[in-house]
Symmetry: D2
Subunit: 324 residues, 4 copies
């Protein structure tokens, strides 16, 4: 395939990150720097308009930069050949050939590859962020849910059908919390911002005498408790908030130890909103990891570090993956 030959890891590439309400499109150089970036609105109900918006922006950028590939990242299941959105939660894609649809509209003869957004973000971290020295890495993106990416021996793991690294759905508790996926006990029901908020709401009922500060930050309304408020209370030293963040950290670490039994990574990178809690989260995560890690003493303990790439990780990772 001649397109493959044209791909060059040293060339610029365009990275696209399709969110629920807008699309970010940027030119990324070989060092992971974004040279220029644009944003356009998304209409999730109009798949063709998304294709068109991406192509238009790419064509405009390609007039000013020499690009070698286009990488498109979106939430959902991507076929393992990187061409098709098998399913997306927010946009009406069902086995939608996103790559070729965009390629038809792009003027330059460059490959267009599709990647899962968490994979793209994890890849950016691996290549240019906290994992740039690593070879085997687990990325955990802890927001509303728990997403992630897995890098084994320098390669992104996509799985046979493109559905690998659904780390949040590893089961950690039999008969545990209900998950939107239809199962019980998924890791993301214990290691996510939603879990943190849910635990805080429960603690207000179960341990009301400890919940004053958390409630205060929620205007006295248990339903208004948010993750950032819990983090803030924890940073102030509020006992309940500290224990809630630490509990979240323990679950991150203990679950990561199960992954380590399978994959033996050297590094676990923690990103997403809850990473703002810093050491309040990281120290319990490391303690939980070490306490649950098999073969301790027969290998170094993998490091657990915060992500370094910011919101543009999806663009950067998608662009870089497209070059490969």
């Amino acid at each position: 395939m001649t397109q493959t030959q044209m791909r060059n890891q040293d060339m610029h590439a365009i990275g696209v990150d399709i969110g629920g309400t807008k699309i970010a499109i940027g030119v990324v150089d070989a060092e992971g720097q974004i040279l220029e970036q644009v944003r356009v609105e998304t209409n999730p109900d109009d798949a063709a308009s998304i294709d068109r918006a991406i192509a238009d922006a790419s064509n405009a950028l390609a007039r000013r930069y020499e690009i070698g590939a286009i990488g498109v990242a979106a939430a959902g299941f991507v076929s393992s050949d990187r061409t098709t959105m098998a399913f997306a939660p927010n946009i009406d894609w069902r086995d939608y050939p996103l790559g070729s649809k965009i390629a038809e509209l792009v003027e330059a003869d460059v490959p267009v590859v599709v990647e899962n957004d968490a994979n793209a973000a994890g890849w950016a971290e691996f290549r240019f962020g906290a994992g740039r020295e690593a070879r085997d890495m687990l990325m955990l993106t802890i927001g509303t849910g728990l997403g992630g990416a897995i890098v084994v021996d320098g390669n992104l793991v996509r799985g046979r059908w493109g559905v690998a690294a659904e780390v949040g759905h590893m089961r950690v508790v039999p008969h545990g919390h209900y998950c939107g996926c239809g199962h019980e006990g998924c890791w993301e029901k214990y290691a996510s911002g939603s879990a943190l908020v849910r635990d805080a709401k429960a603690a207000v009922v179960a341990l009301p005498h400890l919940a004053d500060r958390i409630l205060e930050l929620a205007d006295g309304d248990r339903r208004k408790i948010t993750g950032p408020a819990i983090t803030r209370a924890a940073q102030e030293g509020d006992e309940l908030a500290v224990s809630l963040v630490a509990k979240l950290g323990r679950w991150i670490g203990e679950g990561a130890a199960s992954v380590a039994a399978l994959l033996d990574p050297e590094l676990v990178v923690v990103g997403g909103g809850v990473a703002a809690a810093g050491d309040l989260l990281l120290l319990p995560a490391r303690a939980g990891f070490e306490s649950a890690l098999s073969a301790l003493g027969h290998r170094p303990v993998a490091r657990i570090e915060l992500a370094e790439q910011g919101n543009e990780a999806g663009i950067v990772g998608a662009a870089d993956l497209a070059r490969r």
Copy 2:
């Protein structure tokens, strides 16, 4: 490295499987057939004698076959560069440079690589057995414990420090059964022959009115219950035995679903002694897998099949890995 160039996937290679009491050494062709095999006794307390025995047998075989590489498989932790036994449970290897020790004694100038024995056996299955059509595979070897091997995109996963695929130590039950590794709730305490026997012994106490046949096969002595006897009783249709084997199968399947959330394999291969139970084990394993699998409906359900390679899998896999 010129040795690398000499390796040829089409050449014969020698595979070595170092067990607790004997060493099996064979010449393996490019199709995974063993052309000739010898066995020698092991003295686990004398590491140098093991090196010598392997070299002697290899030299003898190399006079009759043109070989391109030697692969050595043993239980324990192998460095990720495939040269060193970091730790072994049965032989007194601690950071022992097994590969170079043997290479010094081997007359031919061929690479000698070291692999974990479960990885080698899993690789044989992947290349020449139940997984020969697959690209992404999970091997589960269910004997006294639960070992395994992981193949991602056609490559064996060794991990950053060679300790990947310790599948039996993925935690499946918080606060669950004690494991020899010092932790609680490891998968192998639920999905192994030992778990089957332990559950049977417990059932004799908890449900004595159902345990007649199992006890009879153990000469009336609860302590003498064995895995094969439970399997036999199950095959006869004994209600308790069937339920015990099915419970084991469920744990295999449900745990494999957690692995699938991470790695999205197309195939899970079940080997080891309990595989003799056949469909009594496989059907519950498949049901358990499907009931716990995330993204069902968005990907095919990975197949769960019995291993096809027999006791020589270690030799075959070690030889084949050495060619790479």
Copy 3:
């Protein structure tokens, strides 16, 4: 206390069952038969009107029947001296002296005692229903939640502060489902009609290929799945529905075995809406109980039976308890 002497277990008594929207008041004879019954609307926001309504109806009934006591049952926490509603979920009672408030308005000089409604219903079952031959009994009322009553050596267990028999909040799964009480893993999150519906909704997502009939009975809308519909599908033989009801039954039985370790009852009575499933529920409940019961072989296995008393159990039990 002369009132105590006036109480006579052979006399008629008035039983009152205060629900969320109406009050049922009846005259109950010594054999637990309701001789006459009236119903009046409740205004849950007007506690005084409830007192008045009960007193008015009681006074009217007391003109036609000779009564020895009045028993009042309501949802909530009742003080252990049977005088005060410490807390109620639906009515604004906080340490409300319900007994004396009503007694002030009642013309006859008879004792007025307050009981928790689940306790009253369980007592009716114990005295006149499935438990009439028993001495030690566990009542499980399985509706939206899981309520109950405990009878030890012929006496209702109220606890030191009147909060005993909150059986639904015994923890059965560490880190398990969130409960409205603020904790995780409460028994009622596994053994209740809500759990059944929740599990069915989850199964529609996790096992869509098995959910046709359940979805059909919910007009194709997962959110409309109801307990009675699942029961109906199970009675028709639908595989998924049968397994869901059986799972519920297992949790009932296994949890009851934990209670039996503490209290050694001879009988477990299952009432509430899900009891309509009959043997589809009872047989798995019995199997689960037996499989988890300690000291099996050293005592008979307690029977698990359906409740016999209907909706009037609260009236009957309250009246009978008031006579004591």
Copy 4:
């Protein structure tokens, strides 16, 4: 029955505590004081000799004290009518009419009643020890296993078949640790001296860098770790030992919260060998209890206190129960 009339709660009674290797027999007054006590050796293989030894000692004591009843406590299952040892773990009693066997040999015409030893000890605590002000109490005797006694409304709970208060076999973890009773996840596998030792042995493997002091107290041999040594290390401030004792305390408290959901006691008394850890155990137990207690805020939090009665609790309790 005239014997019943003869029983007098103000009279002296003889209490007998049958252990595995010796029998303790004492005269106990109405305030729970032991006036005189003797000990004789037991031959567990000769039931008749045990009857005789008890009768001889009782006859001798009865010549010097006026006694109203004899209470005999032993490990095992006692019939609920307090006459028969249904089963004993250490002595070959199977449905053995221990009470009448002894009564035949006793010269005085006094009732002889049989009680479970943990019940007797708990009763002594309730009447004369930490529970003397209480009405509803849970006794936990934490030694090798976890035994207990339950007092509801001032009465000892024996259950329908005398097998109540087997608190150690309440299940706290589905699929949890194997128990000698044939089940998984029994409370005593988490809240007992054996659990403490087992956890310490596991920690030596899993967290070797923290285990120096515990190992040192075991002469460097993991197998020699004992409960008292862990307690001692904890009292010295050793981090791992403190955390192990605290974990034990948490399980005590969290399990007690499940009991409280059923029985609403005002007091939990902790006795047995591990009670020596004092606040290192009690504070985590109280924290665990409060964190898992339902209806917090609607009732006082039950107190958790150490037992006050010592090794003679069995004698005292058996004597006192015999007077009733």
